[in-house]
Symmetry: C2
Subunit: 591 residues, 2 copies
């Protein structure tokens, strides 16, 4: 959705409609109208809509309408706003993401295109912004603040402050996205501070991301203009952040859930400074639970007043981000509406966007959009030719550093193990039961850079993988990550990924066993959410059932975070094994 | 005060200061710190200040300071914000207005330069903006929406939408000022709607002014993007406006007082949408009671929680107007602080602006500023030569329409009286006891336009004025208004006003009896507030004591509103007598 300029003609029509001189297009009759400003519900209200805007709402309007729909006492609330979400995590293009979440009442999101920026830089962000305009919900942007995340890997792009200047002045850009590099900020990283200054001088906002940061460090962070955080989970963290002017985004998403804890920190004095967000929303979770309406439900189930929770999902967020026509059902506001069955489960009956009914009973009513072939985000897997030799791993000492996985935890172990080697020093999985090979292959510039490592815990004890799994979702640089127990299947996996130009693949005996093509930057697809969720589910099920990946190890997520050089303790990037505790690259052979 | 761009160097220093690596300039030690976000007072806090900004605030800061001031348990709150005030009403230039209100804790105002715009148009607004930069408080602007107020008078300037385009994009302009012409809006006045569209498309705000407007009319008004009102005085008016997304500015000023009534409408659910304002602040009232701190005191005395009241005077207003660095004592915010003795009387001990102590015990500590001779706003009284003949008033019928004043009320009567005339038909005061002559002389373009009328009730019964009173404060076009009982003194008054180039004057026997020069546009002076207040007081006292103006008739205000062609029932503009009920000009002689 794009904002268009307001014309005098449009204003005249609004006046005439409100005064009943001209009929409005539509009236929602007999509504329980949620008045977010007074914090009240008005029974038996009429809501008049014309040209995509609310013209009037209340009980004794003078307005009249060409069409009247009796909503039979249903709750009519402002469309929900997700204060912070990464579209890429859904594996869906913006247009498809919009169609995923709109049926659950989400009509506006603030997104950080961090993942695609790591692959395609400015061109990737521009693609997201173009697609946002084609999508059925309103999408606003925060610009990624840390691309690449670390210097210990090869990303597709590097975004310096200078690169962000033009984008920062675009109207749909609201500021700088989650400023994750807290140590960098406190160490006065020049480029990071230039990004901060650019944002503040453009009059825009900086989102925070500061788990565990406290005291003077938090003050220094806030003093640089950070005005939100979505990582808090305790009363102390909430109070500390609010005291420093940082709004709280209460998160409940596919990757992290804080509502249970954070609900306890809400008081009548601070509730106005809370928003709701999901951070990450996978299609399967949305289909199962909902989106922001699920965050609402969780918040209310934890004792937050339903109207206050609704404000957190609407007007609070609109006010924070300066979205002047969003977040309320009031004259002049966008006619983005969600019709709920109740204020407990927040089950969505209908969703209206810009005065048009787009969804009913959790299904989009609008036709599947035409896919626009956007070549700027395709063909994003560029690798040097590989051979079986590429996957050869050796140790002279007969010892090796091994990444040891724990079920249900992204933090891993830095193991030092004795390994069985062949006469030439090479380590193969067939002579090292329980160990798998891990490869990270640079895929942006065809440099041929490739890191190799050993992995423990990715296959169930006593079982064999008997194949390879590969993905182009590999945080944050999104190189190709492959795990396998034989070099042939690993090579085949790399080749399959190259052939698909991105996505997820299971390989057995040199053949594709399951696949999920992600043709957009190797991260997303233009295929509908239902289809994508189905393929993803099938792939995950096969990974567990047929490739013996144990419960608690997520075939996509665990794999995807193995290259992220900031999560303890041992990681693999395309530049080699990385010791997060010592913060440097290390050899496989510890001697 | 002007905002300067934020530099990387400044951010680095903030970080170093917060972390204690570099000492801050200053620490306010042992403060009762008002944390507006959590809505709490933290005892024994330290507030660290450097380079005009708050670096940290709280109890266990790592920051240290070169200088520490023990504030001995005093309350340290954010500097107060006046959400809506007309500087011109004070008769002081912006620089002097700043020095008037700063000692009472006001560190930011949002002003509508409506009066000077009627005299000097864009050039007058530009003058205010230049002076704002030289002043010691932060001054932000809303652009006048209705210049001239009516077409029934000659103003100094006409501001069409097109004239406002450049100004609307200035950073210190926050939007369009009180949209008073509600009937014009509802009648879809083209130019007014162009101003509305200009403002909304610039992403800025529209302030309201809609006394008595309700229902569909209020919805039409809000649908055009009006987001505040400062004219409400009942619970119903508050609820109706909030429901339509209009914030409430609770007003207590020299001209109107609504806190008593509005305080009763504040609830924990809506308090976040209230701000405080004065609208008009005369120096004598400020010296007697205070400024926004007086509004606070009144609000708290009417039962509003002190912290909630403080939020209304600080963070609520800053959030509404998007003043990102104002309204809180928190890291990164401007070090605009007010130190109160208590939360009941809000007596101000000290005021700090941008980290500098500017006032103590209600007195400015900074030196009297150098007056900059700004020729663009001087010489604003341009009249055609007058003679005694100019003041000649006749009636052929022996009857006349007479403006009848009531003590304590700006609404007047439209009287039809028998009058005594000389053989040539002329009406003189000496043969009509109790009647005075009123003249309004166009003074912007020397057109020679002049209206004459008869006035009853301006002089105490049985007494004589024996002279003339003249003023260039004459709403809204600010022509010269003169009342007198003889043509010689009225002529002398016009000549004295011309000689002073604006201001107020009492004339007796052809000589100046008292005067208050207002050399800036005929509305304001660069002289200090104390001096101006003294002269004004002397002039008012003389008017009552020596010119026998009765109690309840304000020599300046009553006079100043006689030309305002929107207050019932009979007014006088330079174009002649105006019947407000029939909304047209009428003759003195009713036959």
């Amino acid at each position: 959705m794009t904002d268009s300029a307001i014309s005098v003609t449009a204003l005249k029509r609004r006046i005439d409609c409100a005064l009943g001189r001209t009929p409005c297009e539509l009236c929602l009759h007999n509504a329980r109208w949620v008045d977010v400003f007074n914090g009240k519900i008005i029974e038996k209200a009429d809501i008049f809509i014309d040209a995509g805007k609310i013209v009037d709402a209340g009980r004794h309007c003078k307005a009249r309408a060409l069409e009247t729909i009796d909503v039979e006492g249903s709750l009519v609330a402002p469309g929900l706003i997700d204060a912070h979400v990464h579209i890429e995590s859904s594996m869906l293009s913006p247009v498809q993401f919009a169609r995923l979440v709109a049926p659950y009442g989400t009509t506006t999101i603030i997104t950080d295109p961090h993942e695609i920026a790591n692959v395609l830089g400015i061109s990737g962000i521009r693609y997201m912004m173009r697609e946002a305009k084609r999508s059925e919900i309103t999408i606003r942007f925060m610009l990624p603040s840390c691309v690449p995340s670390t210097p210990y890997e090869t990303s597709g792009a590097t975004l310096k402050a200078q690169d962000l200047v033009d984008l920062m002045h675009e109207p749909e850009v609201l500021g700088l996205a989650e400023l994750m590099n807290v140590p960098g900020l406190l160490a006065k990283d020049e480029d990071l501070l230039e990004k901060v200054a650019l944002t503040l001088n453009a009059g825009k906002l900086i989102d925070g991301h500061s788990p565990l940061t406290t005291g003077a460090e938090l003050s220094a962070y806030a003093a640089c203009g950070v005005t939100s955080d979505h990582e808090a989970s305790t009363f102390k963290e909430t109070e500390d952040r609010l005291a420093r002017g940082m709004k709280m985004f209460m998160r409940e998403g596919s990757a992290a859930q804080n509502v249970d804890a954070l609900s306890q920190t809400v008081t009548p004095l601070n509730s106005r400074f809370f928003s709701l967000c999901t951070d990450d929303a996978s299609p399967d979770d949305v289909f199962a639970n909902g989106h922001v309406n699920y965050v609402l439900k969780r918040a209310v189930s934890r004792g937050i007043d339903p109207i206050e929770a609704l404000r957190m999902a609407t007007i609070n967020t609109a006010l924070h981000f300066g979205l002047k026509s969003k977040g309320a059902v009031a004259p002049g506001y966008d006619a983005d509406l969600v019709i709920f069955e109740d204020l407990e489960h927040f089950k969505v009956k209908e969703v209206w966007i810009a005065g048009r009914r787009v969804a009913q009973n959790q299904r989009m009513l609008t036709p599947e959009p035409v896919t626009v072939a956007d070549e700027t985000v395709k063909g994003c897997v560029k690798i040097k030719p590989l051979s079986l030799e590429s996957f050869k791993l050796t140790s002279r000492s007969g010892k090796a550093r091994v990444i040891g996985l724990h079920a249900g935890d992204l933090i891993n172990d830095h193991l030092l193990l004795e390994v069985n080697t062949r006469p030439d020093g090479s380590i193969d999985c067939d002579i090292n039961p329980g160990l798998l090979k891990l490869a990270v292959i640079e895929r942006h510039h065809a440099t041929g850079r490739m890191g190799l490592a050993l992995l423990k815990g990715f296959v169930a004890e006593g079982k064999e993988l008997n194949g390879a799994i590969a993905s182009t979702i590999a945080h944050d640089s999104h190189n190709i990550v492959i795990v396998g127990d034989n070099d042939e299947d690993m090579l085949a996996a790399a080749q399959a990924i190259e052939a698909m130009q991105g996505g997820l693949v299971l390989i057995r005996s040199g053949k594709v066993f399951q696949s999920l093509p992600l043709e957009i930057a190797g991260l997303m697809t233009d295929r509908p959410a239902q289809e994508t969720a189905g393929k993803k589910r099938a792939l995950i099920e096969a990974a567990h059932r047929d490739f013996h990946i144990p419960e608690g190890i997520h075939p996509i997520m665990t794999l995807g975070f193995l290259p992220l050089a900031v999560i303890p303790h041992l990681r693999l990037t395309d530049l080699g094994l990385f010791d997060v505790d010592r913060f440097c690259h290390v050899n496989i052979d510890p001697e």
